[in-house]
Amino acid sequence: MNNDRTFFWRKLHSISGLIPIGVFLFVHFGINYTAFYGEEAFNNAAAFMGNLPFRYAMELFIIFIPLLFHGIYGIVIARDAKNNLTTYRYEKNLYFYFQRLSGIVVFLFLIWHVGTTRVPAAFGAEVNFDMVANLVENPLYLIFYIVGILMTTFHFSNGFRTMLITWGITANQKSQQFGKMLGILLFLVLSGIGLTAIFAFV
């Protein structure tokens, strides 16, 4: 009788933001950060990732499919909202709005990001330090990166905060305040790592 699978898909959307996409974000930022130690360190780390076993299967099932699912469903969810920040200037409402805005910006950023890295790689270009360094030589592209990184770190950190609510972990005011502090901490740490990494290519 019950064919409504909304609950399942919504929960899958929520968890997919953390596992695998969030976990991948950490790995990705970790690799990027090696650029801070120099070109060689980054190239080694990138080569290590590129040579992992089952690489294509892992890319498909850990990155592309979850990301497409989360992103496309996320846009569907965002379309449900009629944002009302002008009337209701409350902190959480601002986060609600930015969660949707950042999701859409991240979506566009990732299309560009994949298009300028994985797509050329598929046609034989080598993914290495120079590839990124050549991109960020152009100030416009550097700005794309900075915006993309900050939008991603905000989206993930705030998403982590709301995820604690979505799964009923933080319910009362005190714990939700604690969740917010965790989110802010995540945002600062991840943004620090991400920005340090991209400026290492400049």
Binding site: T6, K11, K82, N84, T87, Y88, F96, A171, Q173
Partner: protein, 249 residues
Amino acid sequence: MSEKTVHMKITRQDGPFSDPYVEEFRVPWRPSMNIISALMEIRRNPININGEETSPVQWESICLEEVCGACSMLINGKPRQACSTLIDSLAQPITVEPLTSFPCERDLIVNRERMFDALKKVKGWIEIDGTQDMGPGPKIAENERQKAYELSKCMTCGLCFEACPNINQRSSFVGPAPLAQVRLFNTHPTGQMQAEERLEQIMGEGGLTSCGNAANCVEVCPKEIPLTQSIALLNKETTIYSFKRFFHK
């Protein structure tokens, strides 16, 4: 005659399908006036700011003490109860509009049926006797009673619907208040017997998962119902129930 007056800008609508228009009024000020007493003044003497006679402005109010939920409207752009909003606390001119989340019947009267339908959907009641008297139900623990009492203060006023960004023409979200009521009836010792049915009702399209955690509802609720807390706890309960349903039931 330099009496103090109250300047009101009221959004009016002659019927469910008519176009809204704004009419302004200036009514004599009295101490401790609230929005309802200002509206009553207009009803007593329905003359607008241009001195023209007009139809009295229609509104709904019952209790006049913020317990019935009938007098919800937008006052200076914010959703509030007209009976507990004092004129002296507001900047003039005071704008008064009907809520936008519900269909307007006339002037400031809206049809909140959407909320009552949602309460029916989630079985917002306690099933008591069947065809015969089933005797007294189990007792409720005092600490549970205290929590339940807070939830029971909801007056279905609809302010939380008005403020929620996920309630609009495009969405089918059941809304914050009915979700808190699920928690109320699921904590009641007799109501608990239908707890899973209520959870089942809010796990479909437009149910609990349509909440996007904007939390405007708790900001505007005049009865300080712990809406976000109720939603988070239901998130936990529905998740546990979903596993039970999948593996055991």
